[in-house]
Symmetry: C2
DNA sequence: ATAAACCTGACTAAAATAGTCAAGTATCTT
DNA sequence: AAGATACTTGACTATTTTAGTCAGGTTTAT
């Protein structure tokens, strides 16, 4: 299981977007400057977010990105999935691994990873972008 | 954050050890055969487990490894820590990253990772080796 | 027209992972 | 005492992933 910078950047960028997305689209250049994330890398990340319909793009001058749903409806697990942060525990059924085919014969820890996966996903499913934005604003005061 | 094969193997091997550790030490060779994990890799892993006093070694013929505590007292977080599975989310305070020094100025997602870390660690702290062994025996019937 | 900003795909250095390999040392059995 | 079993240690390596960079587009407001 991994949670890497890409996922973190995605969340940081979306929190930023949610805060500044009132009327006008927010350019990646601005997010890049505010959050200290490379513009090129942001473009990769937003490409994925757009494909998963988490954001919408507005091309041309004064363009940028806009949230595609309300911040309340965007859950963290949606974000991580979009940028390929697989909240997946290590597979234990590579071919011919003893005692686990994932079905009738399970390796001794198979259920454990399932539980863990659920545990983490539940955490992410409960948190919305809005929660994070509020959190952030409160702490700024 | 990562959970990789090393952590999984450690847990698999210890569950195996806990089940067969009645009177005699269990050899890595046996664990290797039963669990389908390379002997050399197991040796690396058990070296770490021994240093953290999770297992004890018995050298010589008929030697092997023995649990150093009761299975009930060995929690999963102890195991993961021992084999360097850092349940650590990505750091967000690499030098000069904007808006986060981990202290007075926190990046927008700083608290999130802290919470997540706690969430996962709680899961691991609640699960003991004994729980897994029981789980496993029950499912075998 | 031109500049801002999105869009796409290919490329790469560095790190981590999942091992392997080799050369031991300790201890039990015979 | 010899031999076998099994732990012990450290170095080495192929592969994969990550975290970007780079280059060359296209779209659209002004």
């Amino acid at each position: 299981m991994k949670l890497t910078s890409r996922g973190r950047y995605a969340v940081m960028a979306l929190v930023d977007l949610a805060r500044f997305d009132n009327i006008n689209p927010v350019s990646l250049r601005d997010i890049s400057l505010r959050q200290g994330i490379s513009l090129d890398y942001l473009e990769q990340i937003f490409s994925k977010l757009r494909k998963k319909e988490i954001v919408q793009s507005v091309r041309g001058t004064q363009g940028g990105y806009v949230l595609n749903k309300k911040a309340k409806e965007i859950k963290l697990n949606n974000i991580f999935e979009a940028v390929d942060e697989k909240v997946k525990t290590v597979q234990c059924n590579k071919e011919s691994k003893k005692g686990c085919n994932g079905k009738s014969i399970k390796c001794v820890t198979h259920n454990l990873w399932d539980e863990l996966e659920n545990h983490i996903n539940n955490f992410f499913k409960e948190k919305s972008l809005e929660d994070l934005v509020k959190d952030n604003i409160e702490r700024r005061i």
